[in-house]
């Protein structure tokens, strides 16, 4: 739990640093603080956790694994931000502080043991994100993104809260274990059973909004496109990971015994999400929008593991989310450099990158292969786990649909590989700052390591 405390205190410290104009200290302090927080989390690994704060939170291995991976990804993204925030704003400390507030919400989201904490976690994260999306005050697109995100977010919060209320109405508790016991002791035709099941449905809708799963995905592309690229990277990786972790935690702990009720609903959502994400991604001309839509389809693959809820779901989701996040961070990192260099992010901007800067091209290629799920990359292992989990529950047709989607996705992921290697572009040099080299190199390396030797990550959960 010290992790959460540290991450909540750290932003306040950062704001003071900002106040006293210690700009250069911001990044080191944040990174060191986050690494310390991750260290504190790892220290609690395998320590038979008890619920804390009157049973509100449970910092078990599941929570630790997801906390560490979200913290790690945040560190990678912050390292990319070295000069980025200075360029778009004069109040840099706020960026770091707000991102860390969002992260604090995320830690709550992955370690809650009570529906109220789930709600609070989501709100802490969401409110921070509304601000981050609109942080470029004078940019219309950024404003639009923020407003859209806020309206949609508020809407989805309503669903979530209503769902929680109904479940409270049925079970008279917010506590996950109490709710679970209630399901076991109350047969399906009890007094409040309709309240309860409606509650589950509304929670699914609320969480699907947050994850960007279809048909609740309409905000995603615009918000992703309008937000500053690094914030987009944060939203589509860390936030998505947290969303799915919260989703999975709730459904594995509480609702697993009534899975035949909600699995068909979620199956529908998953299949629609896969197709909507993939097919719309096909038609994008902008790399950033393509990533936004493809992130919808990845939400679909992640939900797959929830649908096929089993002992393997946790490690499937964890591995998939890790693989996806790392590859996306690499992709967004390269995108950022290209954007700064070309002023736009169309696929044409990547033409000839293979010649101009083989390192960037190689990193982006590995990231794309991983997102597409090609063997020897982490993405393949993620898909492999997800498919295994689904097949173990005999969802053969769903897996076949997922495979069709994987085939479609090749087309748009390869668009950028084709642009980089097989087309001729302008020859201007792209300067890669040291921080970028480090983050991109590390992401590519991790993608390959997990791809070749997945035991390294799958053993976490």
């Amino acid at each position: 739990m010290n992790t959460l405390i540290l991450i909540s205190v750290l932003p306040i410290l950062l704001l003071y640093l900002g106040l006293y104009k210690a700009k250069n200290a911001l990044l080191p302090v944040t990174v060191i603080g986050l690494l310390a927080a991750a260290g504190l989390a790892i220290k609690e690994w395998n320590t038979f956790p008890a619920p804390v704060y009157s049973g509100m939170m449970l910092f078990n291995n599941y929570a630790i694994a997801f906390s560490v991976i979200t913290i790690f990804c945040t560190v990678l993204i912050l390292l990319l931000s070295k000069d980025y925030f200075e360029k778009i704003s004069s109040n840099v400390a706020e960026y770091y502080a707000i991102i860390l507030f969002a992260l604090a919400g995320i830690i709550v989201m992955v370690s809650y043991n009570n529906l109220v904490m789930l709600f609070i976690g989501i709100e802490i994260m969401s409110v921070s994100l509304y601000i981050l999306a609109g942080i470029r005050k004078r940019d219309i697109a950024s404003n639009e993104a923020s407003l859209k995100y806020f309206l949609m977010g508020a809407f989805s919060t309503g669903f979530l809260l209503f769902g929680i209320t109904l479940i409270y109405g049925a079970t008279s508790s917010f506590d996950l274990t109490v709710i679970r016991d209630w399901i076991i002791t109350h047969p399906r035709d009890g007094e409040f059973v309709y309240l309860f099941y409606t509650g589950i449905l509304l929670i699914i809708i609320g969480l699907s909004f947050k994850l960007g799963a279809a048909p609740f995905h309409f905000w995603t592309p615009d918000v992703y496109e309008g937000s500053p690229t690094l914030i987009t990277a944060f939203m589509s990786t860390v936030v998505k990971t947290a969303g799915i972790a919260a989703f999975l935690r709730l459904f594995t702990v509480c609702f697993v015994t009534v899975s035949d009720y909600w699995v068909p609903v979620l199956t529908g959502i998953t299949v629609i999400t896969l197709f909507v994400g993939n097919i719309t991604a096909l038609y994008q001309h902008s790399f950033k929008r393509m990533l936004a839509y493809s992130s919808i389809s990845h939400a679909g693959y992640l939900l797959f593991a929830v649908v096929s809820i089993s002992s393997g779901s946790n490690s499937a989701v964890f591995t998939y989310a890790t693989a996806y996040s790392i590859a996306s961070i690499a992709a967004f990192g390269v995108l950022l450099l290209i954007q700064q260099n070309h002023g736009n992010d169309n696929f044409e901007s990547f033409d000839g990158l293979g010649k101009r800067n083989p390192f960037l091209a190689a990193v982006l290629t590995i990231a794309m292969l991983s997102l597409a799920g090609i063997p020897l990359t982490a993405g393949f292992i993620g898909k492999f786990f997800v498919f295994s989990a689904a097949l173990s529950r005999m969802h053969v047709w769903m897996v076949v649909l997922a495979v069709l989607n994987a085939i479609i996705s090749i087309y748009y992921y390869f668009k950028v590989i084709i642009a980089m290697y097989f087309r001729v572009g302008n020859e201007t040099e792209i300067e890669v700052p040291g921080y970028f080299s480090f983050v991109l190199g590390l992401s590519a390396l991790l993608t390959l390591i997990i791809g070749v030797y997945p035991g390294f990550i799958a053993s976490f959960i």
Binding site: I374, S388, V400, A406, Y421, A458, S459
Partner: protein, 493 residues
Amino acid sequence: MTVSILIFLPLVAAVIVYLLKNDAAKYAALFFAVAELVVAGVMITKFVPDSSVQFVTDAEWMPKLGIYFTAGVNGISLIMVLLNVLLVPIIILSSFNRPQQNANIFYALILFMQAGMLVVFTALDGFLFYVGWEAALIPIYFICALWGGENRIRITLKFFIYTFAGSLFMLLAIIYLHLQTPQRTYDINHFYDLHLSLKEQSFVFWAFFLAFAIKMPVFPFHTWQPDTYTEAPTAGTMMLSGIMLKMGVYGAIRWMIPVAPNAFDKYQYIIITLAVIGIIYASIIAFKQRDGKRLVAYSSIAHVGLIAAGIFAWTASGVQGALIQSLNHGINVVGMFFIWDIISRRLNTRDIGQMGGIASAAPKFAIAFLIVLLGTVALPLTNGFIGEFLLLNGVYEYNIFLSAAAGLTIIFGAVYMLRMYKNVMQGQTNELTVLFTDLTGNEKLVLCCISALIIFLGIYPQSVMHLSDAAVMDLVKTVNTKIVNGALEAITK
């Protein structure tokens, strides 16, 4: 000695070659390919030709998930390994004349691909098999798309999506089989021991079939092939047609039919019929081709169709024929593509109609061309003969009419190949062909190697066939027993 040397040598070689400069990379690649041939040669001399799996490597990979790095060779794999290690040095040598940009990347990709394919041919673990399968695909995509012809981008993407689609379904089948094993393992022997219902077998069977049919390619999954073969650089085409498509042949024999024998029995006639349709269809299209490389590509579909028919007839001679013909087809088709590479490099065109009289301008070339051609049309005492004979024999044992139809490939093949030879090589020289220069140093070397193999394997095929005899017999018998038992079970139910 273990198979891991065989697998990791080209992998290490690929890294070394990548780090070298252009010319050094070229020679290093050749050196490593020959070294690999020597390793395989030593392995073959030590191999005891029975049906067991030998030189096994067994290492933990993801033991928690039942995934092990298990690889080894039996007679069936060994022929494929032999094909692989024989052809790669020839292919590398044959591409020496092409001025290559970034030669280090080119040769590194070829060696990486070789490693991937060797994994496929030796894997005893389903997961490993799949990883090798895809690991071989990525380099060939880049080879084709970086060094290919004009339309390479669109065509190679189509090729990639096609083959990737097929292999994903295979992945599903492999995971499915894994989930059915009581020990939760990917071990091939445990897959063999599974007792699946006909419905389950059918699912597994078609999922595997998609992957293998696209790779080979069997009609109607062939549409990617002629375009890709035409657009790919010659070395890429050779890798694809010479070795890579044999992954499909090998997979069908070793992975698909033994794990789903009853489903195979049920759908056998459909698939053989498809294969035979493919033979006739491709032969007829080959007649019409004016582009030499395309003609060879279509003739390859016909030949592979016969191999497929032989496998699916599932008799000892059919399977044995499929193996030996895979080796021989690899040698012949590499020779054929190399010949067309020489012609198109000299004349800047592959249009058969514009040529003629090359034989008088380049007699050595004419002899080499003739030998490769005779091997391709399966003249007795050339390597093509024994394979086609066994294949037709195998299909005959299944169904005499199908065998007769499949036999047309030999007649058709002889007609369009000899007609091609006549149009290209014989007659009067014209403006285009009059200055055709004869073979140069390494072209001579490549064609000598290929001709020697064609004649040696034509006269003494037993030198290779004895390797796989026992393994084939054993496998065919096991599967047939399973089919009979399955049928009996169905009756008693």
